[in-house]
């Protein structure tokens, strides 16, 4: 019995609507390359997707931080090499002044050159990177020292801030990247007197000894300068080590990024091959349904009655 069945027509239309929705959805996924475009596309994956998206963004920022720190540490390392050179020059000048043939006048001239090296060293302690005084510790908006030859060490200490700032890498590990000018150039004893390795004090002592034509003082200052040279080399090694750690941390962050991007892509992005196959299947099904429906006879007995 052939019925005018509204139900059958509705069923056909419902099937076509469902197939068309599927085609639209898959087409959107193929064209955008994104499988998860709204929450209902894959509710179970949203937490992981959000976590990866956040982690990728944070990783990029961490890499920027590491890059900035690498620049700062590189600058500091170069500054320390200059400081070491200055101290070694002072040692050489001191050696000239220490000879028995050196006259008072000659020593006076050497004292002037030593003063120039003091100015150089103070200038190095005021090295800036992007507006920050990198040897001023946590108070990096101001220089830590200025030249003051009236002082026992030949400098006036402006800041006593320590350096507690650390750079966090992608694993959350903190990397110490800075020493203060006080630690590098002006180490002090607990009673605040210049300690062994104090470059400022050693240079000033040499300058004063040369000015005063004091052979014994010159000899003492030479020993102090040699200790300061060693101390500066240790500080340079610190920055060299920091450079190595930063380079390693940057490498790790980059590998994390690649891994996270891949995980995100696997979760979120369209598998184009599968989507294309699904699209083809849905379109074939749609065409078959339309063809089958068109073949359904719309004729009835009245068409044959005369």
């Amino acid at each position: 019995m052939l019925n005018i069945t509204r139900g059958a027509t509705e069923k056909f239309l419902a099937d076509m609507d469902r197939t068309q929705s599927q085609i639209d959805k898959v087409s959107g996924q193929v064209s955008s390359g994104i499988r998860v475009q709204q929450p209902s596309d894959d509710p179970g994956a949203l937490a992981e997707i959000a976590t990866l998206q956040g982690a990728i963004g944070m990783n990029q920022q961490v890499q920027a931080n590491l890059g900035s720190a690498t620049n700062e540490v590189g600058t500091a390392e170069g500054a320390l090499q200059s400081a070491i050179q200055a101290v070694e020059n002072a040692i050489s000048l001191g050696a000239q002044g220490a000879t028995s043939t050196s006259t008072a006048q000659a020593r006076s001239i050497l004292a002037t050159q030593i003063q120039g090296l003091q100015e150089t060293l103070v200038g190095i302690s005021q090295t800036t990177v992007n507006g920050r005084y990198i040897f001023s510790g946590d108070q990096d908006r101001s220089p830590a020292y200025k030249l003051d030859l009236s002082q026992p060490s030949g400098v006036q200490r402006l800041l006593t801030a320590s350096s507690t700032r650390v750079i966090q890498d992608a694993t959350g590990t903190a990397i110490s990247v800075a020493k203060t000018a006080g630690e590098i150039f002006d180490p002090r004893n607990p009673d605040d007197t210049p300690a062994t390795g104090n470059a400022f004090a050693a240079l000033n002592a040499l300058r004063v000894a040369l000015q005063n034509n004091d052979s014994a003082g010159i000899a003492q200052a030479q020993d102090a300068l040699k200790q300061a040279d060693s101390h500066l080399n240790v500080a340079e090694a610190f920055y060299g080590n920091a450079q190595t750690r930063l380079a390693s941390a940057t490498n790790i962050a980059q590998r994390f990024q690649v891994n996270q991007q891949k995980q995100l892509s696997d979760l979120r992005d369209t598998d184009v091959a599968s989507a294309a196959l699904e699209l083809t299947q849905a379109q074939t099904q749609q065409q078959a349904s339309l063809a089958a429906q068109s073949k359904r006879t719309s004729m009835n007995l009245f068409d044959y009655l005369t």
Binding site: I4, G7, P39, G54, M58, R132, D138, V166, N300
Partner: protein, 475 residues
């Protein structure tokens, strides 16, 4: 002679019967596409035949026989209720889920990620004024996006409230139409196929709007109840529903300023929302009072978005206020970055803002131990730090869980809708097989009654001729 005349009359009656039968066939064909129409059949009965007693027999019609099958009709109405429910859920949940970005490029997820990145950049250079300002700007962006989301959810709830009112109006209109049927039926007890078709079409439309129970009464009227007990139509009376929006007071409100819920009231003003469990109205109420309220809050719950806003603000503020603006001796303590309305748990998201009295240089990157960027580092990792107030989830995961929940419900509604569309079409098809008009069957009946009419007419002609000849024999 008298038997000839009786046979003549009987043949005349037969022609009348066949003509009526043909009228029924014509009515069936005319109403083949009329919603709610059930095929009618003319029921013929043989009259007594007793040649010796003078009964000439013949045919007569009884009342029309309807092919309507109540079981099939009820099955269709049940499926329509579910179809209406899942349609409403699917449409409204799909609209609501678009408010939640999952690409990470916009909305709260994007601004939150940027805030944490701003904290991280600040940690590398805590004294940099521009990086401090970037933190404040990032916080403003987060607060703006959270408030915007809260507002959008409120607007969506408002749109659903409008849809609820509109649906209730449609229900009342259909109830009035059914009332008119009952009135007419009380006046005229004879069943009318046209009125019957209209009634069942209205019942089907009503089923799609709300879950109903129908009871056929002995007097031919139909009693319609919403759910199992809320009267819509009883006899010649219609009982209108109404829609209202107010905060629940039973049980007593936990959040006195919580957003109101959508309610359906019966003709006496009693709250019958709980009776509405299916149909378009049921779907709308579910999305409005269950799904959206779980996010925006109501009298009994804070809402997940408010939980998120409160936890974000409190955790950031707690870290900042525990530290100093720098590691310098005597540095000032940090100020809170976020503020929100604390008078009600449901107001946090809609009122989240950056502290208007904070300047960038009052942010506290240094922790209580004196580490210059200890606080900033802690803030940078806040997105992945488990929060007890969020059930152990971190802020990023909790935010995504809100989207995930609404996404899952949308997915379920869409899947159920697809299934229900198929089931409803199937039920209608089965119903139509029983009570729908078949042109082929009507054509066969047409031939049958046409031939019958022709035969009866021929008999009438023969009887007429015989009667005439008999009369001619009378001298």
């Amino acid at each position: 002679m008298s038997s000839l005349l009786a046979s003549l009359a009987s043949s005349g009656r037969a022609l009348d019967v066949f003509q009526r039968a043909l009228s029924v066939i014509q009515d069936n064909i005319d109403n083949a596409s009329t919603p709610g129409y059930a095929t009618q059949d003319a029921s013929l009965t043989a009259l007594p035949l007793d040649i010796t007693g003078g009964l000439v027999g013949g045919v007569a019609t009884r009342s029309l026989v309807s092919s309507r099958n109540d079981f099939a009709d009820q099955a269709v109405r049940r499926h329509l209720q579910s179809l209406g429910e899942f349609t409403a859920k699917s449409q409204n949940l799909n609209s609501a889920q678009t408010l939640f970005d999952v690409t990470g490029n916009s909305g709260v997820p994007a601004s939150l990620s940027q805030l944490f990145q701003a904290f991280s950049a600040w940690s590398a250079n805590p004294s940099d004024p521009s990086l401090r300002q970037a933190v404040v700007d990032g916080a403003v962006s987060v607060a703006d996006s959270v408030r915007s989301l809260a507002k959008s959810l409120t607007q969506t709830a408002g749109q659903i409230d409008t849809s609820v009112a509109s649906t209730v109006q449609q229900i009342n209109t259909l109830g009035a139409a059914i009332q008119n049927y009952n009135v007419e039926r009380l006046r005229n007890p004879t069943s009318d196929p046209a009125a019957d078709a209209s009634l069942h079409a209205n019942l089907e439309s009503l089923s799609q709007l709300v879950n109903i129970t129908t009871l056929q009464q002995a007097d031919g009227t139909v009693t319609v109840l919403a759910g199992d007990q809320t009267p819509l139509v009883i006899g010649n009376q219609a009982y209108a529903l109404s829609a209202s929006v107010y905060a629940d007071t039973t049980p007593p409100a936990v959040n006195s300023q919580g957003p109101p819920s959508s309610h359906v009231l019966d003709w006496q003003g009693n709250d019958v929302t709980a009776d509405v469990s299916s149909g378009q109205l049921g779907g709308l109420l579910n999305v409005r009072n269950q799904v959206l309220s779980s996010i925006s809050g109501d009298a009994q719950q804070a809402g997940s978005l408010n939980q998120f806003a409160k936890t974000l603000a409190d955790s950031v503020n707690q870290i900042l206020q525990s530290g100093k603006v720098s590691s310098d001796p005597g540095a000032a303590s940090g100020l809170p970055l976020f503020t929100y309305n604390t008078s009600d748990a449901t107001l946090a998201a809609g009122s989240l803002t950056v502290n208007p009295s904070i300047a960038a240089d009052q942010l506290a990157p240094a922790d209580a131990a004196g580490n210059a960027n200890g606080n900033a580092i802690q803030l940078a990792s806040l997105g992945s730090t488990a929060q007890a107030a969020l059930g152990g989830m971190n802020l990023t995961t909790f935010l995504s869980s809100i989207a995930s929940n609404i996404g899952q419900q949308t997915q379920q509604a869409q899947s159920s809708l697809t299934t229900q569309q198929q089931a409803t079409a199937q039920a209608k098809s089965l119903r139509d097989q029983i009570s729908g008009v078949s042109l082929d069957a009507e054509a066969v009946k047409l031939i049958e009654f046409q031939r019958g009419y022709q035969a009866a007419a021929r008999v009438l002609a023969v009887l007429n001729d015989l009667t005439d000849k008999t009369i001619q024999m009378i001298p």
